[in-house]
Amino acid sequence: MARHISTQRRALNTASAWTVALILFFPILWTVLTSFKPEAQAVASPPIFLGFDWTLQNYVDVNEQRDYFRYFVNSIIIALGSTAFGLVLAVPAAWSMAFVPGRKTKDLLMWMLSTKMMPAVGVLVPIYLLFKTLGLLDTRFGMVLVLTLMNLPIIVWMLYTYFKEIPGEILEAARMDGASLRSEILYVLTPMAVPGIASTVLLNIILAWNEAFWTINLTVTDAAPLTKFIAGFSSPQGLFYAKLSAASTMAIAPILIMGWFSQKQLVRGLTFGAVK
């Protein structure tokens, strides 16, 4: 039975939704606006909303001081690399947990998730020392490795939930049809799980792109991604808000654009299986 909602009620709902969305989005909007202001107007009090002298000078300055493109490439390599590496490990893991569960599978899943409950700083020193000994500090491979491990529990969990939705009889049919384990995963399971895998990939790229704790602590220059790029502007140039804003805008723009275009896929993927 459809519930009747009055027009007034609907207008009120829409207005509150917009208000909440604007409040959430405001810091980003303000950062973007500030990046186009001259330094003097960026710190003006009272703040100027739109009536300032628009300029691209901040972007030029930021690029002259630091090579944006190098950080951008590192971000891409770390985000895509850790996601790809994570999938290679997580697909077989989630497959076995979903389709051939043992008595301890649930406990194992809980344990994997529990590692995400620990503050990262708790293992900073041991990991730093390990990386130092293994020569992984400030290397792209090292960063891919650490972010893969950080996000692996989430990838496994998400894939596990999607795989659970796939009827076991279809995989049994594939086995009867002569499919090896590899063909079964490649031709039957993966195509059916594509919506789930896609949203897992998107979410992990976003998480890896935005990850700041490990990337800032374990890199210097060679493997430094965009998070380091922003951080680099925060302390020495702490008073230059316009340049800091330009750096931030350049760092978040790629992921914001990607998120915008894939939001349908993301929402679908994240609510997949919630309603039968």
Binding site: P167, E172, R175, M176, D177, A179, S180, M192, V194
Partner: protein
């Protein structure tokens, strides 16, 4: 060739024996139906033959080859599942071709075999659709198509018609029987519906609680059930089972009379009773009669019979067709 031999096959999940030591020979080209109430182990037995479950003990041979520990793909059997289990992301053509692709066949050969199967099953017009765009009956045909292209040693059907409506079920039942006649390949068919079992089978295997109660042709089971379970399970409406003093008159613990082996008359008869419920189908009439000193007896009469609820009637069982069982429930000769 599709001769399958089971020797002392047992399957247990933890402490529970689901299949307890089954011996069974299935001859090449036979249509064998496993029938029994739900939970009797019939589907598990089929899955053991398919290789989708591991046997706990015992052995299995397919065409004389040891097959107990072979993976499903190596057994040369094809299976049709209750849920059809089609690949939803593939077209009908790709669904049917999938086992051929897995066998490493060339695209040309695949196309030829798919076309042939589609022709047999009237699927030619639907080859480029996806399973989601097909009706239940068509999906069932695709599942069968996927099985026949492999030219398997035997087909395994796991309650394939239970998701279809009644009318379609009758049509598909006949199609599967015709398919068996034309392919002459061994078929093993699991169902809980004894009408399907009676109409399709060369040989019926009646299962109960993980054991075989009786193996035989449909009419053997109908005419000489080995025990009370088979007597009650085969035949519709169910056989009347009478115990107590009336059974003692015939030197048995339980007396079985099929509803269709009881004559109805207004005059002199063996038993007398009052009609409780009467159903008139035109071709047949069914009565529930409360018989003095015995209890409720179901009666089936051919054609129309002018008997209504509340009438007092006389019943005469066909004495030649009585079934007698001892205290253990086994049939007496």
């Amino acid at each position: 060739m599709g001769k399958i031999t089971l020797s002392q096959v047992r399957k247990s999940f933890g402490e529970v024996d689901v299949i307890s030591g089954i011996d069974l020979d299935i001859e090449d080209g036979e249509f064998v139906v496993f029938v029994g109430p739900s939970g009797c182990g019939k589907s598990t037995l089929l899955r053991l033959i398919a290789g989708l479950e591991d046997t706990t003990s015992g052995s299995m041979q397919i065409d004389g080859q040891e097959a107990t520990h072979l993976p499903p793909a190596k057994r040369g059997l094809a299976m049709v599942f209750q849920s059809y289990a089609l690949y939803p992301h593939m077209t009908v053509r790709k669904n049917i071709a999938f086992p051929l692709k897995m066998a490493g066949m060339t695209a040309d050969e695949q196309a030829k075999k798919v076309a042939h199967a589609a022709n047999i099953l009237n699927l030619t017009d639907y080859l480029d659709r996806r399973p989601g765009q097909l009706s239940g009956g068509q999906r069932q045909r695709v599942a069968i198509g996927r099985a026949i292209v492999r030219e398997p040693a035997a087909f395994l059907f796991d309650e394939p018609l239970s998701n279809l409506d009644a009318a379609l079920r009758v049509t598909m039942r006949q199609e599967i029987s015709e398919l068996h006649q034309s392919l002459k390949t061994t078929m093993i068919y699991v169902t809980h519906d004894q009408v399907e079992a009676m109409t399709m089978a060369d040989k019926i295997v009646v299962l109960n609680a993980g054991r075989i109660e009786q193996v035989g042709s449909p009419l053997e089971l109908y005419h000489s059930p080995r025990n009370l379970f088979v007597a009650g399970f085969i035949g519709s409406p169910k056989m009347n089972l009478i115990s107590g003093a009336e059974a003692a008159k015939y030197n048995c613990a339980t007396l079985g009379v099929r509803p269709e082996h009881i004559g109805v008359g207004a005059g002199d008869g063996h038993w007398q009773g009052v009609v409780g419920l009467s159903e008139h189908l035109g071709s047949d009439s069914f009565f529930k009669v409360s018989v003095d000193g015995i209890g409720t007896i179901n009666v089936r009469a051919n054609g129309e019979l002018n008997v209504r609820a509340g009438d007092r009637i006389h019943l005469s069982p066909d004495l030649e067709k009585l079934h007698r069982f001892d205290a253990e429930g086994l049939a007496l000769k």
